[in-house]
Symmetry: D2
Subunit: 284 residues, 4 copies
Amino acid sequence: MNTITLLIHCPDQKGIIASTTNFIQQKGGNIVYIDQHVDREQNIFFMRLEGEFEAENFSLAILHEEFESTIAKDFGMSWKVYPSEVKPKMAIFVSKYDHCLYDILGRYNSGELNVEIPFIISNHPHLGGIAKNFGIPYHHIPMTKDTKPEAEAKQLELLKSHHVDLIVLARYMQIVSGKLIGEFTNKIINIHHSFLPAFPGAKPYHSAFKRGVKIIGATSHYVTEELDAGPIIEQDIARVSHTHSVKDFIAKGRDLEKIVLSRAIKLHTDRKTMVYDNKTVIFS
Amino acid sequence: MNTITLLIHCPDQKGIIASTTNFIQQKGGNIVYIDQHVDREQNIFFMRLEGEFEAENFSLAILHEEFESTIAKDFGMSWKVYPSEVKPKMAIFVSKYDHCLYDILGRYNSGELNVEIPFIISNHPHLGGIAKNFGIPYHHIPMTKDTKPEAEAKQLELLKSHHVDLIVLARYMQIVSGKLIGEFTNKIINIHHSFLPAFPGAKPYHSAFKRGVKIIGATSHYVTEELDAGPIIEQDIARVSHTHSVKDFIAKGRDLEKIVLSRAIKLHTDRKTMVYDNKTVIFS
Amino acid sequence: MNTITLLIHCPDQKGIIASTTNFIQQKGGNIVYIDQHVDREQNIFFMRLEGEFEAENFSLAILHEEFESTIAKDFGMSWKVYPSEVKPKMAIFVSKYDHCLYDILGRYNSGELNVEIPFIISNHPHLGGIAKNFGIPYHHIPMTKDTKPEAEAKQLELLKSHHVDLIVLARYMQIVSGKLIGEFTNKIINIHHSFLPAFPGAKPYHSAFKRGVKIIGATSHYVTEELDAGPIIEQDIARVSHTHSVKDFIAKGRDLEKIVLSRAIKLHTDRKTMVYDNKTVIFS
Amino acid sequence: MNTITLLIHCPDQKGIIASTTNFIQQKGGNIVYIDQHVDREQNIFFMRLEGEFEAENFSLAILHEEFESTIAKDFGMSWKVYPSEVKPKMAIFVSKYDHCLYDILGRYNSGELNVEIPFIISNHPHLGGIAKNFGIPYHHIPMTKDTKPEAEAKQLELLKSHHVDLIVLARYMQIVSGKLIGEFTNKIINIHHSFLPAFPGAKPYHSAFKRGVKIIGATSHYVTEELDAGPIIEQDIARVSHTHSVKDFIAKGRDLEKIVLSRAIKLHTDRKTMVYDNKTVIFS
C-alpha cells in the first residue's frame, strides 16, 4: 500500500471536502484520515487528508498532475502531497547546550521520529562526541562577527547538497540570517526558552525571575526575520516559586525546552502543521 | 441557514467519507466541519460532520430518509442527525453540594451551554433556593431505602413528561437504578471525585490521602450499571502534597469536579461524544 | 487556645530563627508552623510563623510590645502579627461579569474563605441580585469620566467606615486611582486575563488569538500604579488551539480567572503572602 | 563554611523547633533553611533544617554526639545529619530501555544531580555503550529464574563494596527481592509507568488504553515488598485521547517516566524526602 498525506489551503467555499474526497476515491484511494479547519475571520479553509492506494495502480506523478489541473485549480488551492515512505531530511544546529540534542537523538534512535538526520552543524566543537556516539556527521563551522557570511555560505552549501527539508535550532545561540530564513521559509524550527510573547530575546529566565512570575514556559516556533516572533507550534509551562533561583529556572526550563522542541519536530515531520498569517494550524 | 450535525459509526471500509460528503453536497449542503476516527484494533469507523443547508430547500425528514435508505444502509451505519436549532433538554440531579450546580447554572445563564434545563431534582430540599434564583423548577423527591422505587418512578415520570435528553448527576449522592440507566443509556453523566480507575466508590479523597498520592483528580463519565466504571468523557487533576489534609483535598477537588463536569456537559450537548466498547471518542 | 501568625522580613543575618523561636517559647507559645525564605541576591530574610498560646496567660498587646522592643528592634524587622480569630474584611469591586463574583461568594458561603465581606461595590447595577441572594450589601456607585473623583471618594468613605483590609477587583473594569492604591498598598488584588507579562492592558484574549499562542493564562496580582505590573500572586494556564475562536478563549479564560483570583484571595487572607521588590513570597 | 542538613521526626510536642534552633545557634551555626510539617492525625512532627558553620570550630562528630544525647533524646527523635560535601553514591539498575538512563546521565553530566554514580547494573548487555560514553562502569549480571539468587548476591556485593546509598531502578524489568529491599529500606527508587494506584503491575499503558482514560501518568516511589505500593515521591500526567494508540501512550509515557524519575532522584539526593506510614513528606 502507498500512503500519502495532502495538506491543502484555499479560500473557503462550498464543495471543497466533497470534491477532494471524491477525487481520491475515483483514483482508487481510501481516505484513512481527514481533518479540516476554517478560519472564519479570514475565510480560509485548511485540510489534512491521508489516503491509501494499492501499489500496483498508483502513480504519485499522475495524481499530482490531475489534482493540480482539476480540483486544485478550481478552488485556487495551495497544496502539497507527501508520500509517507519519503522521510524528511532534518539538519540540527547546536551550540554548547546538549539537552535538546540528546532528547532529539534519543527519539531518533528509538524510532519515534520519522526523519533522516544527514548532519549536525555547530559553531562550537563541544558536542561532537555526542554526534559520534549516535553515528551522525558533525560539522564544526566556527562563527565570528567577521566570518559570519562565509560560515553561513558553508552551512547553506551543506544544507543544499544534502537536500535538507527542515532545520532544527536545538538551542543554537546564533541569529540566523535573513538569507537562510528566505531559503527555508517555515522550515526552520527554533526553541525559545520563554512563554512567548513574554520575554523574547536574550536571557528570558533572568527576566522571568526579575518579574516574579509563578509559571515559566518554552515555545517552539518557525523562524521568521523578526526575532522570536514567528508562528508558534507548541508551548508548555512549569510552575516556579519564590524558592527558585535563576539557576533553578534554567534547570526546570531545560526539561521544558527539550520536550517542547521535540513535540514541534514530531508535528512538523508528521506533516501536521500548516502556517498562515504568522499562526499555525496543528492537526491532531 | 439550517445546520445539522451527523454522528456516524460503522465497520471501517473503503469509501465512507467520500460517499457521505458526496451525499451532503448533492443535497445542496456545504460541509463546514468533518472529523473522523478509526479504531484500528476493532476496525470501527467514527465520523462527526456538520453541514449547512439553505433553509428554502431543506427538509430534515427527507434527508434522514434518503441517507438511511442509501449510504447508511450500504455501510451498515449506526447514525444520528441533530439539527442545531433544537436544544437538548437536560435535567440536573443534586443532593446537598452546590458547587457543581452553581457552575452549571452560571454557564447556562451566560449562554455557554446550548441546553434547556426543564427542572432540577433533588433528594434534599437544600438547594431549592439556588434553583429559584436561576428561575428553574426544583423537585424535591425524598428518597429512603423504602421509598426508592416510588421515588424513582416519580423521577422517571418527570423525565419522560419533559422529554429529557440528558441527565446530569451534579454530585448526586444516590446510586441510580438499572432501570433509569437502561432508559437513558449513555445519556446520564456523572462526576466522580477521583482519577478513575483509581479510587472508585465512596470517599475517594480519604483513600487518596491515605495512599499518599501527589496528584488528585476528577472524572466525568457516562453512567453504566457497574459503579464508576462507565465510559470516561473527561478527566483533570490537581497537585497535592503532604501539607494538605483530607479537607484540603476536598476543597481542591471541588474546583476540579465542577470544571470537569461542565466540560463533559459541553462536549455532550455539542454532540462531540460517541461511545463504544465502554470508551468514548471525543471530537474536537 | 490563641493562635497567631507572624510575618517578618529583615536583612538576612545570623540568629533570626533561633531568637524568634526562643522568644515564642519563653512567652509560653508553641510553634505549630514555621517557614522561611532568604533572597540571596538582595540578602533579605522572610519568615512566616504560627504559634499557639493558652488563652489564660496570653496578651497580644504585651507580646507585640515585647517583640517590637527586643527581637524586632535588634534585627531591624518589618513585621506583622495576625490573631487568627480576627477575620480580614474584604470588599469586592465588580462591573458586569459575574463569574468571579459567583466563585468568591460560593467559597465564602461554604466556609472556604476566612473573611468577612462587608459590601460589594459596582459601577453598574447588574449584579445587585446576586449580592442580594448571598445577603451582602451592594453599593451601586456609577462612574463616568466626570464623576470619577467623587465616585472614588464615596468608595473610599465606604472602605474606611467599614475598616476594610482587602479590596478584590473581581473583573472590575475601571482603572483604580493612585489615591486608592496609595491607601491600600499591597491590599488590592486584581485578576488580569492573561499570562502576564504577556498581553497587559485591554483585550488580552484578542491579542493572544492574534499572536496564535497555544496556551492562555490568567494572573492575580497586587495592584500598583503601573497597569498590570504589580507583584504576581498566582497564575494558571489553559491549552488552546487553532480551532478556538476569541469567544472560546474568553469562555476558557473565565474558568481560569475565577480560580486564579480565588486562590490569590485564599493565600492573602490566610496571611501567606509577602511582598518585596515588586515580587511575592508565597508560603505553603 | 560547613553546611549540614538535618532531617528529624518525632512525636509532636511543644518546644521542638525552639530547642533545635537554639542548639544550632549555641554551636555557632546559622540556620539557612527550616521547614517543618506536623501530621495532625498521627501526631508526628517532621523537620528539615540546613545550618552553616564556620569550618574552624566545627566537628560533625561532636555535634552528632551532643544533639543525640540532649535534644534528640529528650524529644524521642529519629534523626539524620548529612554534611553537604558528601555526595550520595547512587547505583543505577537498567534493562533495555534507555530513555530514563539518558535523562539521568545527562543531568549528572550537567551537574544538576549532586551524586556519585559508582556503576550501572543491568540484566542485559544492551546499554553498555551508553555507560561507556558517560565513563561509568557497567556490570552485566544476567538473571534467569534459576540464577536469580546468585545474580542478586553479586548485585549486593557490588552495592556493599561501593558503599552505595541509593539504588535507582531506571525501567529495570525485574522484581527486586525482599532481601535487597530489606537492606535498602527507603533507598530504592522505582519509576512505575502509571498513575498509581491505578494500573499497578505489568502493562499499565495497555490497561489504561483499554479503560479509555483521558490522562496517563507516571509515579516514582520507594520500593517496598508489595509491588508498586511503596511511598510515592512524585507523579505527573499527560493528556491522551481516542486518537492515541497504545504505542502513542508508550511514547508519551517515556517523557513522563524520565522526568518523574529524575525529579524523585533530585528530591532524595537533596535530602528533601522523609518516609513514614508508607507516605512521604517532600520538603520544598
